[in-house]
Symmetry: C2
Subunit: 721 residues, 2 copies
């Protein structure tokens, strides 16, 4: 590990030194993910330029060993951020010009695409400018620099705001031609932000409320790593709109953010009073700031978001000073600011302004330039971010070299978390079972796997939605991640399944492997988020879902998922596992941990299942029994377990033929769930035994019998073929 790490480190340093020399890095490669966090804390550039800042010098004291690696140790003394030079306060006239540049890049791109949302960028350009030009610390030429501040546009439809800012800041992902191909096939500027399409975009957003949930996940990961490795990491900034505020998920995650005291999270609420159906008065009259006060946030109101630059700067300063609470800055803006006939109306929310109104807006804001033009003084003003960002990263990389010399073990652990590089032989930690091993519920076998993995996969942290004891998901060697114990690895999400998904999903950007543990009875809720979960960060999340199907028994139909597995199987880019016994459960974990590009879902039983010589799907014992009976009658019977449809589909035709020979047409599928989709495996001539109605409230054995998931039925079905 150490060797491979130090090699890795050399790679990083040489590459980033090159970047510091001004050579842009090419399109992202795995190597670019190998950025390491700095020891110094953040300082505000708001209107004052970069100052040297207090920070931790992690290299003075020797590393006191905690009872396990990576525990909090005394905070250390500051050093200078020498690489960043002071910048004079930018003249307001130039800020105006920069802000209007952002507005018109958005206007022009939407106009050219004749599709998009110009209203938000026009209203939020001032806060956008201050964040990217004055406040945030990032390296345009290495969007993956680990200690960057993160920005999430929860109101993702306004993505031209972010594309314009990335363009001005010097990111290679958004060149002028990218702005001109906004919303076109194959472009790096899709209609909503996609983190894997556009380096510089942290998470995919668009479905309202999603981004704030992701941001809470980022802030959670930052707080955890900062505590575990004594590294104050970066801040997370987010812009959310009225729509995000109306969505229940945002209340879930903001309640958690308040509970956890995520002081590094600063959210801007774009209070523009306009939704698609008109004034928010028609549906949204609550007191948002008072609600956030109740959720334990610090709240600030910027009354003039259209050009009150100093108001915005002061609010950010105030927010940074509040260490123990997240901050909501309500910024009152005018949607479509500058458009004489469409500003402050839904007309500017989701459509191009139209040539005539664009012209009127140019005149109104005194903008004589061609479409997509960035004035020279604006360009040169923003140009400092490339060298500054490179210097920040270089300094921080240099510091890490020193850090690793002092704390090799912690440095190695931290790097493995950042890079997702697994400790060689990690998979040997997984348990194995024989037919002689005692039968058990797969939720319990899952617990054995999780606790076996925790020590060898240091980035593995997760939590349950108030069902840890039912999910069997506690990492026993660790405590609870809480406001005052953020170094721990068990997250208590409370009964907040929607929020749990995205907030865990975003975190892989810092902690790559993170199981998301929950209860299948609530699958249909997490379900709600799955689409965004998957889009938000490709992979890194393991959803553990227990109490599968009617096996749940007495709790009844509302708690018995029947059709949910099908809907996961129909979903692109996810692995849906339904392991039958210990070895299949351990195998599922191995594949899940290795799959970085695809999240995994494990559906686990509450009832005890035998350890089988072969393996099989849920209802497996029943199938084995039936097969036994039929074999006695001299019939040749094969029981096949389709643990994961997606992986089976990816096998060679030869392999598929070897498992399901075309010659064998008498096929019966058995699953305690919807039969939809099974025809693909059993063919026209086959029979599907399953559950195509809601469950029932009764002891599990009774429901299985009444629903015909029984050896008798299987035998009858097979004989009928």
């Amino acid at each position: 590990m150490a060797a491979s790490s130090s090699f890795t480190l050399q790679t990083v340093v040489s590459r980033t030194v090159a970047v510091a020399g001004g050579h842009g890095s090419p399109s992202p490669s795995p190597a670019e993910h190998l950025a390491i966090p700095t020891g110094f804390s953040l300082c505000s550039l708001a209107g004052k330029g970069v100052k040297s800042s207090p920070a931790a010098a992690p290299f003075a004291a020797s590393s006191p060993r905690g009872k396990r690696p990576g525990l909090r140790r005394p905070v250390l003394a500051p050093v200078r951020a020498t690489a960043v030079e002071t910048v004079e306060k930018t003249a307001t006239a130039l800020v105006d010009k920069s802000v209007n540049t952002i507005r018109f890049l958005a206007i022009d791109a939407v106009e050219k695409a004749n599709s998009g949302h110009p209203g938000l960028p026009m209203g939020c350009a001032p806060m956008g400018h201050i964040l990217y030009d004055e406040v945030m610390r990032y390296n345009p030429k290495n969007p993956y620099w680990f200690n960057r501040d993160r920005f999430v546009l929860s109101a993702g439809h306004g993505c031209m705001l972010q594309y314009a800012l990335l363009h001005l800041a010097g990111y290679d992902s958004v060149k002028e031609e990218d702005l001109k191909s906004f919303r076109q096939w194959g472009s790096r500027t899709p209609g909503h932000p996609e983190n894997f399409e556009t380096p510089g975009v942290e998470v995919t957003t668009g479905p309202l409320g999603q981004g704030i949930a992701n941001a809470v996940g980022l802030a959670l990961a930052e707080k955890h790593l900062a505590a575990r490795f004594n590294k104050p990491t970066a801040r997370s900034y987010v812009i959310l709109g009225d729509g995000c505020q109306m969505e229940g998920i945002s209340n879930e995650v903001c309640s958690l953010a308040g509970h956890w005291g995520l002081g590094k999270l600063i959210a801007f609420y774009d209070d523009n009073h306009i939704s698609i159906d008109g004034d928010t008065e028609i549906a949204f009259t609550e007191d948002v700031s008072a609600r956030f006060d109740a959720l334990g946030w610090h709240t600030i109101w910027v009354k003039n978001g259209n050009n009150g630059y100093d108001e915005i700067r002061a609010a950010i300063e105030e927010a940074k000073a509040v260490k123990d609470k997240p901050t909501l800055i309500k910024v009152t803006t005018t949607i479509g600011f500058g458009s004489p006939n469409k500003a402050n109306s839904y007309a500017v929310h989701g459509s191009a302004l139209g040539a005539k109104e664009v012209e009127a807006t140019r005149n109104n804001l005194g903008w004589p330039y061609e479409p997509f033009h960035v004035p020279d003084d604006v360009k040169s003003h923003w140009s400092r971010h490339v060298p500054n960002g490179a210097a920040l990263e270089a300094e921080w990389n240099a510091k890490f070299v020193e850090y690793e010399r002092k704390y090799q073990e912690d440095a190695a652990v931290l790097k493995s978390i950042i890079t997702g590089e697994l400790i060689p032989g990690w998979e040997k930690a997984l348990p194995t079972y024989t037919p002689e091993s005692p039968g058990d519920a797969t939720r319990n076998l899952s617990q054995q796997c999780l606790n076996a993995l925790a020590p060898v996969v240091p980035g593995l942290i997760g939590g349950s939605a108030d069902l840890a004891s039912s999910n069997m998901t506690l990492l026993k060697a660790y405590g609870d991640f809480q406001k005052d114990t953020p170094e721990e690895r068990n997250v208590r999400f409370g009964v907040r399944e929607h929020g749990m998904g995205p907030s865990a999903t975003a975190s892989p950007s810092t902690a790559r492997v993170r199981p998301l543990l929950r209860h299948l009875l609530r699958l249909h809720r997490l379900h709600a988020r799955r689409h965004e979960d998957l889009r938000a960060v490709r992979g890194g999340v393991i959803y553990v879902m227990t109490h599968d199907s009617i096996g749940l028994g007495e709790d009844g139909p509302t708690h018995q998922p029947i059709e949910h597995l099908v809907s996961f199987r129909a979903m692109p880019n996810i692995l849906m596992f339904r392991p039958a016994d210990g070895n299949e459960t351990a195998g599922a974990y191995k594949v899940a941990v290795l799959n970085r590009k695809r999240p995994s879902v494990l559906a686990l039983s509450r009832q005890k299942l035998a350890q089988l010589p072969g393996t099989s799907i849920e209802g497996l014992e029943i199938a084995e029994k039936a097969a036994g009976e039929l074999r006695k009658e001299g019939k040749a019977v094969r029981v096949v377990s389709l643990v994961c449809w997606e992986l089976f589909d990816e096998q060679s035709d030869e392999y598929k033929e070897s498992v399901l020979p075309a010659a064998v047409t008498a096929r019966v599928s058995i699953e305690a769930g919807s039969t939809l989709g099974w025809q693909k495996f059993i063919g026209s001539g086959g029979k599907a035994i399953g559950i195509d109605r809601f469950g029932a409230s009764a002891p599990a054995g009774t429901i299985y019998k009444e629903y015909g998931i029984s050896a008798e039925n299987i035998i009858a079905a097979v004989k009928s073929l």
Copy 2:
């Protein structure tokens, strides 16, 4: 209409007169749904017994005609509720005894089933007793009496509380034997409340947060009907727990309830500080009451919910006095109150106490009785609710006879809403199309259908999640349902898809036909609720989902549902329609309106589709084109539209054979969505053309082409077979 209505009315009157005579009605029949709302408002029985109450005498003034029927008219003068006699304040000792009866019925039932949740009933028994014995107005022998107060147990796991109360109140649905078969196969007392299993249960609950959303829907319907027919209707009471409060959906609907000023909604928050994983301190430290203040609710705190009867009574009185806001009564209780060793711990939340602890609890609370025993004095105290309830309903029915004489038209409309009885010939209002009709997007054709239905289906009301203009769902002849215009029929849900589902779902109990209009891009969120939606009230809801699949174009993958239709097709008890043109859209509406037992989902396109001579699925024009080409080559090609898989499956084998002849094995399916499930129709030899990956951001035509949903591909596929 008049004739059939007055006949109906005779039925109602004679039946309910019989009930007033003391003869219990048998198990619910359609006729029993034909209850009509009273003219008088509600009065509190809390500790004071029934008093005659101020109310509207709808029979004095003649009915001033509004610009359309059913508009608000001046409030009318009060009459006496003569049928209800005064009851003396119940001695506290007897209340204690009644409350303990409730506790032990719950304890004994859970013990016998060795499964269930005793903690909540033990803690909430006092508020339960006061609601059912002193406050609520209902008729035990007609659970469907229209003007009853409604109770929703949002914390549905505590259902033994409600079963015990229904038992004491004299409902035929919960006899002693039903309590003894709690959570058993075929019983009327399932593990969570199911409205269609247990008359007296208003809506199915259990998934946390669901019940409060349903209650908001009930209160919405009450406010609407009260305004439209000048009838103050009943109140809605709900008990919700910490889990409900943590769920985002509850914040969505409570924000709406505050916005709408639903003064008839009174929610009890069981503040017991315990969740499954332990003290709520680990995950839930927000200030709930302050949040509800921010949402525009009136809030009260009852500090002693365990035996502070007068505190609870006073809180309810205060809540009733607040007419323009819903009220949250935070009631601090001890979960498992009375259990010496398990009270105030998670141990009592979800498991039987165990024989030893049951015994200890009996001793602790001084309860000498056998399991399931109801002491005589408690029994006789509760016995008054049968005659009282019958009298309330009889008086109100009598009043309605008089009302109908005065306002025949309004009475007829109101009855058709209550009974769901449709105006003969209503379906003739639906538009028809010919191949010559101009092509159009099905979302626009849907709008034509909705506006054609609105006048002939008076109970048709609905709303959009801030996308009315995109869903094309406004009922143009009507205004917005708002706090001060509740008689209108367009509901503005804001961006709250989760809340929209259940709150509309509950409403059919008063307004039977209610389309729930929303945007397919958010389908995966509504999705989250669908399971509960369907369980909550069987049918009555039409989900209109527009902007289907990649046809959405530039908004991109997060907004393009690919796998969602499959998951609806996999779900029991729902009709999933994907109409191809005007006639299929109108047909889908006809089936949807007629289907009372199954909700319907209509997936509609944003892009223009031709009116076809035949019909076909999405991608239909492409299929027709391909078929044309192939026919030119002399091939016999049939294009089949599978508008609704569920309905097709229900047809006779003969019909199925006539549509998809077994002899024809060269089959190609085309759908702009997941191919999962199509094998069922195309067989082993067939080819499925669809989309098994996420969408993309580009003009729709480009994506269709790039994704191979094209005539060329279809022709190639057919030829390959």
